[in-house]
Amino acid sequence: MPLAMMNSGREYRIVNINGSTDLRMKLVNMGITPGVAVRIISKSPSSLLIGLRDTRIMLNSGIAHQIQVQ
């Protein structure tokens, strides 16, 4: 299921990232890779604040729809 539809509080695991190679490379370079545990710290109507690999990353809903989690 896409990360954008998840709720804050629980921890998920990234299974797959869709989208262009450029976008995927950008996410991977920042540590957003399949297999990694991710949690939602905060949600706003346009973006998400997520925690993963001991850091916090803000991304907009468009990207969060491309990240599949379990």
Partner: protein, 708 residues
């Protein structure tokens, strides 16, 4: 004794503490410039260490060394082409794997390298223990522990860097990318001998980049005739890998890097306390909360502005007294003549009027530095994202806008962090609408003269608010007319919350405030002298009455009022016929519908150089106009001028808020957009907008019965 020269390049992720380390290592001996051809800041510092003269280069903070951003290109080209004697890669110990991702790529460039394990104390407090000896053995480079905020490990870091720079033997670092990728590298490497010689990059690395479809490297190799076959062979190998492994090779290669790092992490790191919710997360739960985030942010902003103005008022008062004391001292002790008038009216009246606002400017920059240092600024970007999203920008654009309250110049340079050129241009164009600290003196003097103390705060807040609202509207307009297209996807890492050291806050505050002072000593001084000249010359003017005779006649009268009135009238008439008066009258028809007279016209014309010049110009005009016995401040002089009333003052503030950015800002826009077109457009559109809004305010106010 001659010192040996060594250069050290600092690399690392954004937010890894690189800047603090750089400042620790170099102190104040820094030089800031740009890398040639790109808008990426180049910071260099110098340090004498033992027998060495060190040049320390702060490379841009990057996550990787791909060709996706100019920062990454600059970093890798610097390491390879400028051949620093040693590269120091700074690792945030509490974010080990992601930080080491860059380290593996730097290692593959095969340059002498040292790893600085920074903020290991923070990591250990969270139960993350790193075996740095083992890490050093696995990577084949020395590892030094540092704590940037407490200046720990600096000597050892320099010591190790210097030693590593002089070692001739280099251990090679190789990640195994799996059978298929390694096979492809094996095929490509022999074709790249010429490319290696010319580009100076290691051969294995070049092969890897070709497989990763790195645009920059492909282009460079295509220019080398001897390596002609390499790019074609690489494209073939890429297609093969893609088919065999089912994904783009660059993603597979990245995946192997993370696999290597995952294994390394398990080997050298022991996690004792598996508490997912860190301190930083707990704060974020509140500060970035969907319901609470925005009210907390607005409350903080309100607090900042109130503190700036109430606290700033005390030192401002002292400086004001000092300036007026200096003015009267000059008035009493200097011989009559042009020089005295130039000093008292031009320099002290002009520059003094601007210096008075230094405390508030310093406090404002203090607040901005504090917001940045604690990590809250990045949260503001998240909180404001939903607002920015509505105008077609995203939260990241909000940081330059917020910096705009300090000064448009660094704010516009701050827009560099926006990767999308459309977002960048829109942000650059609307940033000057955020009311900068230089406009503050204008509001303060006008508010003090025409609005009571009770209303002062609200009036000022309304001006700032109008600026913000206009910025939002104009962003929307630009986004839908000039730069159409959907909103770009964006990602941004947020730094952890930190308690910044007072020293680092004061350092940033001073770095920015000094520019305001420099401006007072250069542009404003120069403009003040020019304005003084323009208001004093020509000295021979045709008066409508024979003032000399009338004054002589009035001196025989018992009361002084008649004489004083005549003196003021004469000075006013002289000013009206001066060069400045002529300029003002030329402008007057254009600004009369806004309720402005020629004096304001001169002020606005001059304030194009820097907005606070309006205050210094009016100061010069009124002290010249007041004749000899000037004791009243500019505030009182304005209040006494019948040309002004609260409505005119408000319209004037609005105009100053919106109209053309100052020269320094226009020059910055030209540099950042690399085009005069956008710089001139910025100046033009804002002046037209200022006229329209001020017209609506003034004429609307008059219709509403205000300003009588």
């Amino acid at each position: 004794m001659k010192k040996n020269k060594l250069s050290i390049a600092l690399a690392g992720n954004p937010n890894c503490g690189k800047t603090t380390l750089f400042n620790n290592l170099t102190g104040a001996r820094q030089h800031v410039g740009n890398y040639p051809g790109v808008t990426v800041e180049k910071k260099e510092g110098y340090r004498n260490f033992k027998n060495y003269a060190l040049t320390i280069i702060d490379l841009p903070g990057t996550y990787s060394l791909t060709a996706y951003s100019p920062e990454e290109l600059v970093a890798r080209n610097f390491v390879v082409r400028e051949t620093p004697d040693v590269v120091v890669d700074i690792i945030d110990a509490s974010n080990f794997e992601r930080n080491l991702y860059l380290a593996t790529q730097l290692l593959e460039l095969e340059r002498p390298m040292v790893l600085a394990l920074n903020m290991a104390d923070v990591a250990e407090a969270r139960g993350i223990k790193i075996d740095d000896q083992l890490l050093a053995r696995r990577l084949g480079i020395p590892v030094v522990r540092t704590v940037g905020s407490r200046k720990q490990g600096m000597e050892e870091l320099l010591e190790t860097a210097v030693r590593t720079a002089q070692e001739t033997q280099r251990t090679s670092f190789v990640i195994n990318y799996g059978r298929d990728v390694e096979e492809a590298i094996g095929k490509l490497a022999p074709l790249l001998a010429a490319a290696q010689r010319q580009l100076n990059f290691p051969r294995r690395w070049l092969a890897l980049k070709l497989l990763e479809n790195d645009r920059d490297i492909i282009e460079s190799i295509q220019k080398i005739p001897e390596s002609e076959g390499a790019t074609a062979a690489a494209a073939e190998a890429r297609a093969e890998l893609q088919q065999k492994l089912g994904d783009d090779p660059e993603l597979l290669i990245a995946d192997f890097r993370y696999r290597f790092l995952g294994a390394l992490y398990r080997e050298v790191v022991t996690v004792q306390d598996e508490d997912a919710l860190t301190f930083s997360d707990k704060i974020d739960k509140v500060l970035t909360n969907r319901a609470l985030g925005l009210p907390i942010f607005l409350g903080l902003m309100w607090l900042v502005f109130n503190l700036v103005f109430t606290l700033g008022a005390y030192p401002q008062d002292w400086i004001e007294k000092g300036v007026s004391l200096l003015g009267s001292w000059v008035g009493q002790h200097m011989a009559e003549g042009d020089l005295k008038s130039l000093l008292a009216d031009g320099v002290i009246g002009g520059v003094g009027g601007v210096i008075v606002f230094l405390p508030q400017v310093i406090l404002l920059f203090f607040a901005i530095s504090l917001l940045e240092g604690t990590g809250y600024m990045a949260r503001a970007a998240f909180i404001m994202d939903r607002v920015m999203y509505k105008v077609g920008l995203h939260g990241k654009s909000f940081i330059p806008l917020l910096l705009g309250f300090g000064c448009s110049v660094p704010a516009i340079m701050g827009a560099r962090t926006l990767e999308n050129p459309r977002d960048r241009l829109v942000t650059i164009l609307v940033t000057p609408l955020m009311s900068c600290s230089a406009r503050l003196p204008v509001y303060t003097v006008l508010i003090a003269a025409f609005f009571g103390e009770q209303r002062a705060g609200n009036v000022l807040f309304s001006i700032y608010l109008i600026g913000i609202i206009l910025a939002i509207i104009m962003a929307r307009v630009f986004r839908s007319v000039l730069f159409t297209g959907s909103t770009e996807p964006f990602v941004m890492e947020l730094p952890p919350y930190r308690i910044p050291t007072l020293k680092s806050i004061l350092f940033h505050m001073w770095e920015r405030s000094i520019l305001y002072l420099q401006k007072a000593g250069t542009i404003i001084l120069a403009v003040s002298i020019i304005i003084w000249f323009l208001t004093n010359y020509p000295t021979e003017v045709q008066y409508s009455k024979d003032y000399a005779a009338l004054i002589a006649q009035a001196e025989t009268l018992p009361q002084d009022e008649v004489k004083e009135k005549l003196v003021r009238e004469q000075a006013g008439e002289k000013l009206g016929q001066s060069y400045a008066g002529q300029v003002g009258r030329f402008i007057e028809p254009a600004i009369a519908p806004l309720g402005f007279d020629w004096k304001m016209g001169v002020g606005l014309f001059a304030a194009f150089t820097a907005k606070e010049v309006l205050v210094s110009t009016l100061g010069t005009i009124y002290s010249v106009g007041a004749g000899e016995e000037d004791a009243a401040s500019l505030k009182d002089a304005l209040a006494a001028d019948p040309a002004y009333n609260p409505l005119v003052a408000y319209a004037l503030m609005i105009f100053v808020l919106i109209y053309s950015p100052c020269l320094a800002t226009i020059a910055t826009i030209k540099r950042e957009t690399n085009s005069w077109k956008w710089a001139l457009f910025s100046s033009g559109y804002s002046t037209v907008l200022a006229w329209i809004i001020a017209f609506i305010v003034y004429q609307g106010g008059k219709l509403g019965g205000l300003g009588g």
